[in-house]
């Protein structure tokens, strides 16, 4: 569970945004009806279902500030992307669709894992210019 710091709140909001994005992108399961130019992601029902499940978990984790829930959502999506990657190598598409489904699901999963796994910062004030090249 996250603490009550401002940063935790920011991560919770980010988890809600990523969760909402996952649910929106799951809509591409109906993408066959779209013109090719707008078919950005090719995804099957299994992949879309995982995106919705991960998205709901991620949104819930942001609302109730449960870091573990965010971690589960991230692990679920990242694991699914890895399964699709292995599937592509042996010409099986476990999530339906193709490598575009792997990229979307993997990206969102990695984002959630990063938001979950790294420790919260100390109380020192953040300098936005620190580390700028």
């Amino acid at each position: 569970m996250t603490g009550g710091s401002g940063t935790s709140t920011t991560r919770d909001r980010a988890a809600i945004v990523i969760g909402a994005a996952a649910i929106v992108l799951a809509g591409f399961v109906f993408g066959a009806a779209l013109p090719r130019e707008f078919r950005f992601v090719n995804i099957g029902p299994v992949g879309a279902g995982l995106l919705v499940a991960g998205g709901v978990l991620s949104i819930a984790s942001g609302i109730i500030r449960q870091r573990m829930l965010r971690l589960i959502a991230g692990a679920l999506l990242t694991g699914a992307a890895l399964v699709q990657l292995v599937g592509l190598a042996v010409s099986i598409r476990p999530l339906g669709g193709d490598a575009s489904a792997m990229a979307v699901i993997g990206g969102l999963g990695i984002g959630l894992l990063v938001l979950s796994l790294l420790p919260s910062p100390s109380t020192q004030p953040h300098d936005p210019t620190k580390g700028n090249p």
């Binding site: 940063t7 078919r39 490598a99 990229a103 990695i110 953040h126």
Partner: protein, 178 residues
């Protein structure tokens, strides 16, 4: 200069509208890569039917832009398309995935410029290609790098506070890559 646009933006001086537009640019470019990784199909990447990545890589030989690159494609890439196809798939999937969430965004912007260069050298002189497509692809990645686009509604923007507060190697690296 105004304060940061939102808790999800790590950019003092950016208005909310500017931050949203930068995020739209980043996500739009991510979707371009995501859509185009779809036709990189293992295991032979189109060799059997002379289509897909094998066909498009072959255009570098049929319509050379830069002779040494064409020779490299002809002698190394096409005979080993099963290997280079995987490189391409993983690079483009990574571009789509990481630009979509805005993680290590400046690093991936540089990768995007490199991949755009490879594509440009392959197909710039191919028939029916609009050369500005490739120039614009490069310029879009330049804009993503210049604006550090992951700091606007991206994971970079959320995590830089954590990375900044840490003295660890990985955190320092992520500060530079974001």
């Amino acid at each position: 200069m105004s304060a940061a646009a939102s808790p999800l933006v790590d950019g003092p001086g950016l208005t909310r509208a500017s931050a949203v537009m930068i995020a739209v640019l980043r996500c739009g470019v991510a979707l371009m890569w995501i859509q185009n990784v779809a036709w990189k199909v293992p295991p032979d990447f189109g060799r059997a039917n002379n289509n897909g990545l094998f066909f498009w890589a072959g255009l570098a030989v049929e319509h050379p832009v830069f002779a040494p690159y064409s020779a490299f494609v002809d002698g190394v890439v096409l005979p080993n398309i099963e290997v280079f196809g995987w490189f391409t798939l993983l690079i483009e999937a990574g571009l789509g995935a990481f630009l979509l969430i805005g993680l290590a965004t400046r690093f991936w912007a540089i990768v995007g410029i490199g991949q755009t260069l490879a594509i440009t050298l392959s197909v710039l002189f191919a028939p029916n290609e609009w050369h500005w497509s490739y120039y614009l692809m490069g310029l879009a990645h330049l804009a993503i790098f210049a604006t550090a686009a992951g700091r606007s509604y991206g994971v970079d923007g959320v995590m830089r506070e954590t990375w900044s507060a840490s003295s660890g190697r990985l955190s320092r690296l992520m500060m530079r890559l974001s």
